[in-house]
Symmetry: C2
Subunit: 464 residues, 2 copies
C-alpha cells in the first residue's frame, strides 16, 4: 500500500527538506521525496522529527554474532591473530543447527535495525551440516537468513558463498566441510534456489566467491560467467598480509591486482576489506569503479589494518564507492563503524578530517558515502532516499543529549562523532513497516528470549 | 552511615565472589569485601545482580563536552589537525560564564556516571573571565567543578592548571587570558583555595602544570616544590609530534625525557597522553613508576597517534600504571575507551590480544589496569573494591543481550568488546549513594534541561 510521511526535517543523503515529505510505494521503494505535500489520495502520516536514510550493512556473517566477546583471551604465546581467531570461530561454527543459526541471525538483525541499519548483505557460507552432509533443501541455512529478514523486517541480500578449497592449493579441511561446494554447478544450484525465494524488493541475491584462497581461478571464472551480471558479486580480499603474500606466491600478483586483471569486475563488485592494497591497485579500483566494503570494528578487532585511501568513494565524479559492514558483529553500531573508519585514517595520518571533501562536514560525508556504496553493494536500485531507492528511514531521537543542541549543519557530525549512552534512534521504518519504536525493535523481547535459550543449549552442549 | 550490600556476583577487580558482600563505611570507602555475610548491626541491602568497580576517569575538561560534534568540518586546505581544532576550541572557551560552565559540567558528569565512571580528575584551566579579569573568588570556576561533583554524585579530583605562557618562549595570547596565572604564587593561591573546599572523600586536589610548553622550567620547579607531594601531579605531555620537536629545540630533549630528568616525578604523577615516547623514555617511565593517562577516543579524534607500549601498566610487578580519560568528552563511554586503546594496538601490530598478560582475558586485563592506574591518578587511597578504596560500584544489566549469555570467564571481555545499543549499566552507586538507576542518572532530566537552555543561549550569543 502506498503511504506518505511528513517529517519536520528530512535529510535524503543529498539535501535537507524542512518540512519533508516522503512517498513510499507499494513496492517499498521511494516514489517521491520533496518539501511539498503529496497529492491527495495517499494516506499521509505525520511523524514529525528528523528523518535520515537507513544505512545498508554491506557485509556480515550473522552466526558470528553469538561469538562476540568469546575470543578475547590472550594465548600463552604472542601469536594471537586473525588466523588463531579463525580456528576458534570454525569450532564455534561447527556446532550450529539451522534453528540456532536462525535465532542468532534474528538477534543480530534486531540490533542492526535498532542502530539504524535497514538492509544487510549476508555473506553466507554455512551451507551444509557440520560433517558436510547436504540438507534436504540445499538452501536450508540460506533460506533461514531470508526468513530472518522477513520476520524482523531487514532487507536481505543473500550472497551464497562459493568455497572450493581450504587455501591456495590445499583441500578443504574438516572444519570447512560445511562451507564447501563440490563444484560450481552445485554452487549455482544454491544461487538459483535463492533466486526462487526472492519476494518483492525485500530480498535480493548476489554471488560471493569467498576469496582467492578458497576459490581457484577456474572456479571464479565459471561462477562469474554463470552469474552473468545478474546482481552484486562480493569477494573477501586482501584482509591480511599473509593472504597477500600467499597470493603473490601462488598467482604471481597481489590479490586485488590479480582479480582486476583476471575478472571483469566493475561497479557491481564489492571488494570486502581490501585492507592491503597499493597505489597501483587503488588506481585500478577507481578505474573499474568497484565498491570497497570496509568493516572497521571487525578489522580492528582482528588486527587487519587500516584501509590506505581516505578519499576512496567520496567524490561521485571519480570512480569507486565505499560502504560499511559489521562483519563479525562484535559491535553493531552504525556510528561506531563510521567513526572508526575516520579515526583509523586520523591515527595513521596524525591529522583530522580525512574522509570528507574540502569544506564539508566529515560526519555527513562519511554517512553519505556509506549510503551510496552500501546500496550498490546490496544491489539496491538507488541510494539514500532518492526516488527509486528503498524507502527505509531512521527517525532520530533529537531529544537525545548528544543531538538536541545541533542544527542541520552539524547534526550528522554529532550523530557520528559525539556519543554517550544509547544510539539516538527513535523509530526505524523499512518498506513502509515500523520495525523500531522508542529505540526498541517491536519484537525485541521474543527475539532475545529465543537467542538466549539457543545460547544456553549451545553452552550446555559445549560443556559435554 | 555504614551500609552493606549483597550481590549475586561481585568482581572486585582482582577476584570474584558469588555471592559477594561489600561494606561501605560512613566515609564512602570500602570497609570490607568478601563472600561472607557482614556482622549484624550494619544495614544490609540485597541488590542481586553482578557488580564491578566503578571506573576512574583520570582526565577531562568538562566544558569541552558542549563542543562535541562542532569541530568536525574539513577545512578548505588539507591542514586539519590538533592545532586547528585548538583554535576553534579556544573561541568556544572564551564565551563561557560560570553558570554555563557548571551546566555543561553537570551534563558531562551525568553521562560519565551512566557509563560507569565514578570519579573524575578535572584538569581545570578556565580560571578567569574571558578577558583575564579575576573573579571575586579566584576559584569561582574551579569551585563549580566541585559543586558539580556534589550535585550529581561523581567523585572529583580538582586539578587547577598552571598556565604561564603561550608556548615555548611565547607570551600568553588573548585567547589564553582565561587560563593564565601571573606567577606560581597566584597559582598556589588557587590550589590552597581548592584544598579549603575539600569535603570528605568525595573531593581531592592535585596540581597540574599544563605542559612543558605552557610552563617554563622554573615555574615547574617552583610549583612542584610548593605542592610538596601532597597529592597527584598531572601534566599534558608528548600528545603531538610538533610539541616533541619544539621541546627538543627549546629544552634540548624530548618532553618525557626532559621531565623525568628534571622533575622528581614518581608514582603520584600522571603523564597525560605520552603518545610520542621512545624506548628509552618508556624504560624511564617504568623505573619511576608513573601513571600514563590514555584518552583513546580523544587521541583518535585529534589525530594524536597510538601509545607505543601495549604492556605498560599491565604487570603489577613492573613499574608503571595506566588509566583512561575521556578528555574532550567527544565520546563518554568506559567500554569504548578500553576497546579503542586495545584496537589501536591491534591495528598497529596487526595482531590480536595486545593489552593482556599471557593466558588472560583482554577485556578483564584492560579494565583492571585502568582501575589501578586511574585510582592512583585521582589520588584515591586504593583501587578497585579493595578495602580502603572508594566504595563505588556498577551493577551491570546482565539481561542486556550482549552480556546475558556470558559467565564470569568472559563477562568483562563481553562488556568491553561486544556492543550494541546502550551500555549494559543498570545501577551506579558512589560512596553509598545510588546515582544511576535503570541506566539513567536520577537527576538526568533536570540536568539535561539546564544544559540545553545553556546551549541555546550560547548559540544565540554566537549568532549575534
Amino acid at each position: 500500500m502506498r503511504q506518505a510521511f511528513r517529517f519536520d526535517r528530512l535529510w535524503t543523503g543529498e539535501r535537507w527538506f524542512a518540512p519533508g515529505y516522503l512517498t513510499c510505494g507499494a513496492d517499498g521503494l521511494v516514489e517521491a521525496v520533496s518539501g511539498a505535500v503529496p497529492a491527495a489520495g495517499t494516506p499521509l502520516r505525520s511523524l514529525g522529527g528528523t528523518a535520515i536514510p537507513g544505512m545498508p550493512n554491506l557485509h556480515g556473517h550473522a552466526f558470528q554474532r553469538a561469538f562476540a566477546g568469546r575470543a578475547e583471551r590472550r594465548g600463552a604465546a604472542d601469536e594471537d591473530s586473525f588466523w588463531s581467531w579463525r580456528e576458534q570461530m570454525y569450532r564455534f561454527a561447527r556446532a550450529l543447527e539451522p534453528d540456532q543459526f536462525e535465532a542468532i541471525g534474528a538477534m543480530a538483525a534486531v540490533e542492526m535495525l535498532e542502530s539504524g541499519f535497514t538492509s544487510l548483505a549476508e555473506f553466507h557460507y554455512l551451507h551444509h551440516a557440520a560433517d558436510g552432509q547436504r540438507y534436504a533443501d540445499p538452501l536450508e541455512m540460506g533460506g533461514r537468513a531470508l526468513a530472518v529478514g522477513d520476520a524482523v523486517g531487514i532487507r536481505t541480500t543473500l550472497l551464497p558463498v562459493l568455497y572450493l578449497r581450504g587455501g591456495f592449493g590445499a583441500p578443504l579441511r574438516d572444519e570447512q566441510a560445511r562451507f564447501g561446494c563440490r563444484d560450481v554447478a552445485e554452487y549455482m544450484g544454491l544461487v538459483e534456489r535463492a533466486g526462487d525465494l526472492v519476494r518483492g524488493t525485500m530480498h535480493r541475491v548476489g554471488i560471493a566467491p569467498h576469496s582467492l584462497r578458497a576459490v581457484d581461478p577456474e572456479g571464479l571464472e565459471e561462477a562469474v560467467g554463470a552469474w552473468c551480471g545478474r546482481g552484486p558479486v562480493h569477494v573477501h580480499i586482501a584482509e591480511q598480509q599473509l593472504e597477500v603474500d600467499d597470493c603473490v606466491r601462488h598467482l604471481g600478483a597481489r590479490p586485488v591486482q590479480w582479480l582486476l586483471d583476471h575478472a571483469d569486475a566493475g561497479p557491481a563488485w564489492c571488494l570486502v576489506h581490501a585492507t592491503h592494497v597499493d597505489a597501483r591497485e587503488l588506481a585500478l579500483m577507481k578505474e573499474r569503479d568497484v565498491v570497497v566494503g570496509l568493516c572497521p570494528t571487525t578489522e580492528a578487532n582482528l588486527g587487519d589494518g587500516i584501509f590506505p585511501d581516505p578519499a576512496y568513494g567520496l567524490d561521485d565524479a571519480v570512480g569507486g564507492a565505499v560502504g560499511i559492514g559489521t562483519d563479525s558483529h562484535v559491535s553493531i553500531d552504525v556510528a561506531e563503524e563510521l567513526r572508526l573508519w575516520e579515526y583509523g585514517q586520523r591515527l595513521r595520518d596524525r591529522k583530522r578530517a580525512r574522509v570528507a571533501l574540502p569544506g564539508e562536514p566529515v560526519g555527513r560525508d562519511l554517512y553519505r558515502a556509506a549510503l551510496r556504496g552500501g546500496a550498490r553493494a546490496c544491489g539496491a536500485p538507488d541510494w539514500g532516499l532518492r526516488v527509486g531507492a528503498p524507502a527505509d528511514f531512521v527517525l532520530l531521537d533529537t531529544t537525545h543529549g548528544r543531538l538536541a543542541d545541533h542544527g542541520e549543519d552539524t547534526l550528522l557530525d554529532a550523530l557520528v562523532f559525539s556519543r554517550a549512552g544509547a544510539p539516538p534512534v527513535d523509530q526505524v521504518w523499512v518498506a513502509g513497516r515500523r520495525v523500531v519504536w522508542g529505540g526498541q525493535h517491536v519484537d525485541r523481547d521474543a527475539v532475545r528470549r529465543r537467542y538466549l535459550a539457543t545460547m544456553r543449549r549451545l553452552d550446555a552442549a559445549a560443556a559435554h
